[in-house]
Symmetry: C2
Subunit: 239 residues, 2 copies
C-alpha cells in the first residue's frame, strides 16, 4: 500500500529531506510548539551540518504546511487552527469524490480486489475494535491513497496527498483521537466504505463520487464535534 515517490530509485534520502522529516516529527510530537521561532544556525548546530541544508529543509516543511516562512523574518511553526482542519477535510472530501469517480470510470481490473481487501480490514476493525483509532485511520488513509492513485489523475493524486499530509499533521496534535473511537462510528464508516466499494465495483461512477465524499464529510463532522467537545472550537460549528 506504500509508494515510492515516483523519482528516487534506490537513492539514499537527501540531507535536507532527512532534516525536514526529523523536524516534521519533532513538530508533530509537540517538541516544537506553534509560534516557536526556528533559527537556521540552531538546527545547523544540532544536526551538525551547515545552514544551507537546514535552509532547504525549512522550505520543504513550508511546502508541507508545517511552518511558515516570512522572507527576511525567519521561520515559525504554524499555528494550529482547528477551523483549518475542518476546511482541509472539506477540500479532501471533494477531491476524494473526484478520485472515486474517475477511478470507477477507468475501471482498472486490479481495483475491486484491492479495494475489497481494504474494506474487509476496516469492517474487521469495526467489529472487533481490536486496533487503535490511529491504525484504523491509517488503513482508511491507505485506501484513499489507493483510489486516488487508480484515478489515473496525476495532479489529483499529488494535490490529495499534499492536503492529506497537512491534515494528518494537524490531527496528530490533539492527543486524543478525533474520530473513529466508538464502535458505532467505525461501523458507520465501514458501512460507507462498503457502499463505495459496491458502487465502484458496479461501475457506478456518480454514486461512487457521492459515497466517497460522504466518507470524508462524515469524518469531518465527527472531528468537528470532537473538537467542540474538547473546547478547541466554539460551539457554532456549522460550516
Amino acid at each position: 500500500m506504500d509508494q515510492q515517490t515516483a523519482s528516487g530509485p534506490i537513492c539514499a534520502l537527501t540531507l535536507p529531506q532527512q532534516i525536514a522529516d526529523h523536524l516534521g516529527h519533532r513538530i508533530m510530537n509537540g517538541e516544537l510548539v506553534p509560534g516557536a521561532r526556528l533559527k537556521e544556525e540552531e538546527f545547523a548546530g544540532l544536526y551538525d551540518v551547515s545552514r544551507g541544508p537546514v535552509r532547504e529543509a525549512f522550505r520543504i516543511l513550508e511546502r508541507r504546511g508545517f511552518i511558515e516562512i516570512v522572507p527576511r523574518h525567519g521561520a515559525r511553526v504554524r499555528a494550529f487552527d482547528p477551523a483549518d482542519l475542518a476546511a482541509l477535510f472539506s477540500v479532501r472530501a471533494v477531491l476524494f469524490g473526484l478520485a472515486a469517480r474517475q477511478a470507477t470510470e477507468r475501471a482498472e481490473p486490479e481495483l475491486p480486489g484491492l479495494l475489497a481487501a481494504q474494506v474487509a480490514r476496516l469492517r474487521r476493525s469495526a467489529e472487533a475494535m481490536d486496533i487503535s483509532p490511529r491504525e484504523h485511520a491509517i488503513i482508511a488513509g491507505d485506501t484513499q491513497h489507493l483510489i486516488a492513485r487508480l484515478s489515473g489523475n496525476k495532479p489529483l493524486l499529488r494535490t490529495f496527498e499534499e492536503l492529506t499530509s497537512r491534515a494528518l499533521w494537524r490531527m496528530a496534535w490533539s492527543e486524543r483521537p478525533l474520530d473513529l473511537t466508538t464502535r458505532d462510528r467505525r461501523q458507520e464508516s465501514a458501512r460507507l466504505w462498503g457502499d463505495l466499494l459496491a458502487a465502484m465495483t458496479a461501475g457506478n461512477a456518480l454514486d461512487a463520487e457521492r459515497f466517497a465524499r460522504a466518507i470524508l464529510e462524515a469524518s469531518r463532522d465527527h472531528m468537528i464535534a470532537a473538537m467542540v467537545a474538547q473546547r478547541l472550537l466554539p460551539a457554532d460549528a456549522a460550516d
Copy 2:
C-alpha cells in the same frame, strides 16, 4: 480584483523570487523548451548572482509546476502533457464547486454586487466579442478567484490558486487559445456564469456548486476538443 500575497507589506521582492518570476516567463514564452536542462551555474552567471539564489529559484519553480528537480541530477523544464491539463481542470472544477457552495453558505454581503459586476463584464464580452480570448479568460479567472476567496476556506483558496497557476502556464503553451474563441462558446459561458450568479444570490448552495463545476467542466471539454483538433491529443478523449 487582486490581492496582496498576505505577507509582503511594502518589501521588495526577494532575489530568488525575482529570478523565479523571470525564469517562469521565459519558460512560458517558449525560450526554454520542455526537457531542457537548467544548470545552476549557467543562470547564476546570467543573472550575475551566486548559485544559492538560483538554486532556491529552482525550488520555487518546481513548486509552481514549471520544472522538475531530481535530487542529484539537476532540473529540467517539465514536459507539457495535454492530458494533465484536462486533469488539472477536472480538479479545479470540483474545487471551484466547493468554493461556490461555501461562499454561498457564508453569504458575504459584498459578494452579489461584485459577482454581478464580473458576470456583466463576461456577458458584454460575449455579445460584442470585442476583447481577446485571453482577456476574457482573465476576467473569468478573477471571478473564480473572488469566489474562492469569499468561500472563507483558506486551504481551498491556496490549493485552487496553485492549480490555477499551473493550468494557466500549460495553456499559455498552445499559441492558439484553446477556449472561448467563438461567440457561441462565450455565450454558453456567460449563461453558465449567469446561472451561478442567480444560484448564489438566491442562497442556493447546492445549485451553485453544480453550476460552478459545470463552468470549468465545459471549459475543460472545449479545451480537449481544441487540443484534439490541434493534434495535441489523440482522438480518444473521453475522460
